[in-house]
């Protein structure tokens, strides 16, 4: 979504930042290869609470002063969908979630989101934060020359502790993870005529399934 803006207006600068362990560099490298201008890593080898991540990112946002911050709508591991809105809250910026499209508008931007049977269009002045649901377009492939050029770009790194953000806050812990109980096979009633089958069914629904 951000790169589509850059395609439309070459003066746009797209910066990517992530808070995470050293291996997050791969994702940043990929973003550079796709055409982002710069990338930086806030190193946190130990997992942080979502709120701490949002506070750390807020420090970065205050330094770089972007017009627009885009986050993913949710992490693919814990599905909390928390960091984006929390970051907007820490910054005191407006936020619109689950975006599908961005359109430049007088003094700001139009933020589109999909709703049942149509689109909702919000308008915001800068700065604003959005969480991206999924663009109308598939994410682009990084071009192969882009990959080779990305190699030459530095990805600066700093420890999360150096930002001066409050890294405390509640941490969620997963205490149990269970697969749903296996379902028993269904039953097919086929003995007897219609009436008999109906009777058997009613009995079963009352006595076994206890839904009647």
């Amino acid at each position: 979504m951000a790169l589509e803006r850059k395609d439309a207006d070459a003066s746009t600068t797209v910066s990517v930042v992530t808070v995470g362990p050293a291996r997050s560099r791969d994702a940043l490298r990929q973003a550079l290869a796709m055409g982002c201008d710069d990338a930086s890593l806030v190193l946190a080898e130990e997992p942080l609470s979502d709120l701490a991540v949002a506070r750390a990112l807020a420090k970065v946002a205050l330094e770089t002063k972007p017009d627009l911050v885009l986050c993913g709508k949710q992490a693919s591991d814990d599905d909390q969908g928390f960091v984006g809105p929390a970051l907007a809250e820490v910054l005191g910026w407006p936020h619109v979630s689950m975006l599908t499209r961005l359109v430049p508008a007088e003094g700001g931007v139009e933020l589109w989101r999909e709703v049942e049977g149509g689109h909702e269009v919000w308008k915001a002045s800068f700065p604003v934060l959005g969480t991206a649901h999924k663009s109308e377009k598939e994410p682009r492939y990084p071009s192969l020359p882009g990959i080779m050029k990305a190699k030459k770009k530095e990805i600066p790194e700093r420890p999360v502790g150096s930002l001066g953000a409050d890294l405390g806050g509640p941490r969620l812990e997963i205490v149990a993870l269970e697969t749903p109980p296996a379902r028993g096979g269904g039953k097919i009633l086929k003995d007897g005529d219609m009436k008999a089958v109906a009777e058997q069914l009613a009995t079963l629904l009352r006595d076994e399934a206890k839904v009647l």
């Binding site: 492939y141 990084p142 020359p145 990959i147 080779m148 050029k149 990305a150």
Partner: protein, 382 residues
């Protein structure tokens, strides 16, 4: 000694793999039926930089080197061979001839468009009476009033029917033989006296174009003598073929790896005599032998490609990997088809296509026999 593939080349290979699986694999059937790669797909590939992989950025290339190029072709090997064929002929022998043998001016004039895929290149050496004995070419080049005139017929030119730029090898002085007597010319589509002849109908490689090129007093300006050096063509051809042989082997490795994966999946799934066929040692050994040979060929490819990137000219390694990987690929596809049984013989199976696609590997860019001649010559050299 460092066998680690650099991080960016791993990303490059993953990107190609992803592109192959999501964009190209679904087209396999159409390509096979229509014997044509859709133009939009070639455009998309061009946009992603697939046509200039090994060349330096200053000429519009991706700067991935020969290793990066081979890693990409390995992934292209996982789908219809037409793709690695079109890219290979364009890059490793067509554009590569200009890169290796061209003057600075020629490289600046041709490589950027070729790397961008805006123009497609071909390499044209073979003639009706000159195949393995490539030094015996008959197409003649004569200089008259500051212009070269080419006369003759070239055959089986990969990309020939769609090429915008063809590097044509012709005899400027038959008496002088390969060193001094053969020159390379950059011929553009539209040059007077140049036309495409018959387009071939092939056993495999469906979707890639191979055909005849006809030169009738074809006018080539002096500025288009490759490298500006009359008589230096044969050496350039051999240099380009070194790269071609290595990259061809890379495609063979990728295709064999993919086939092995299909065979593993099929042998675990297919039940006969109350158990998966993979439970039989006869099947297991076919899988194990294939894995061993693929691994060996892959290491040979990476080694030779790496040597090219170190500025060496590994002609011996190129001949070795060419003969080994192409024969390995034919053994692997044969075993994989055997493991699939009748299913592998049916047109709806990718194995059937792969079986036909693999056969050419032992023939073009120098037959297996020619590679063994090159290797033996080196061994027996005083």
């Amino acid at each position: 000694m460092d066998f680690d593939i650099p991080e960016e080349l791993q990303l490059l290979a993953r990107t190609v793999r992803d592109f192959v699986e999501t964009r190209l694999v679904p087209l396999e059937k159409t390509i096979e039926d229509e014997d044509k790669i859709p133009v939009e797909v070639l455009k998309e590939m061009a946009g992603l930089g697939f046509f200039g992989l090994p060349f330096p950025e200053e000429y519009g290339g991706a700067g991935a080197g020969d290793l990066g190029y081979c890693l990409a072709l390995e992934q292209f090997g996982r789908t219809s061979a037409a793709f690695s064929n079109v890219i290979g002929a364009h890059t490793s022998i067509g554009a590569m001839s200009i890169y290796l043998g061209g003057t600075e001016e020629q490289k600046r004039r041709y490589l950027p468009d070729l790397c961008a895929g805006e123009r497609i290149a071909a390499f044209s050496l073979t003639e009706p009476s000159s195949g393995s004995d490539a030094a015996s070419i008959q197409t003649s080049a004569t200089l008259r009033n500051g212009c070269w005139y080419l006369n003759g017929t070239k055959i089986w030119v990969t990309n020939g029917p769609i090429a915008d730029v063809v590097v044509v090898y012709a005899a400027n002085d038959r008496a002088r033989g390969p060193r001094g007597g053969i020159s390379a010319f950059i011929v553009e589509k539209g040059f007077k006296g140049f036309r495409v002849g018959k387009v071939d109908d092939k056993m495999g490689l469906r979707g890639s174009y191979t055909g005849e090129l006809v030169f009738e007093d074809c006018e080539v300006p002096e500025a288009n003598v490759l490298g500006g050096q009359v008589g230096a063509g044969f050496r350039t051809a051999l240099g380009a073929l070194d790269v071609g042989r290595i990259s061809l082997a890379a495609g063979a490795v990728g295709s064999s790896q993919h086939l092995l994966e299909l065979a593993i999946a099929h042998s675990k799934r297919r039940q006969q005599f109350g158990k998966p066929i993979a439970a039989n040692q006869a099947i297991q050994w076919m899988l194990a032998d294939s894995a061993v040979e693929i691994h060996a060929a892959r290491l040979m490819v990476y080694d030779a490609a790496w040597k090219i990137d170190q500025g060496k000219r590994p002609s011996l390694e190129a001949a070795m990997v060419k003969v080994y990987a192409s024969e390995m690929a034919n053994r692997v596809v044969d075993r994989v088809l055997q493991i699939h049984g009748g299913m592998g013989y049916m047109k709806e199976s990718p194995v059937e296509r792969a079986y036909r696609d693999a056969r050419i590997l032992r023939i073009y860019e120098g037959t297996s026999e020619v590679q063994r001649m090159i290797i033996a010559e080196e061994l027996l050299k005083e």
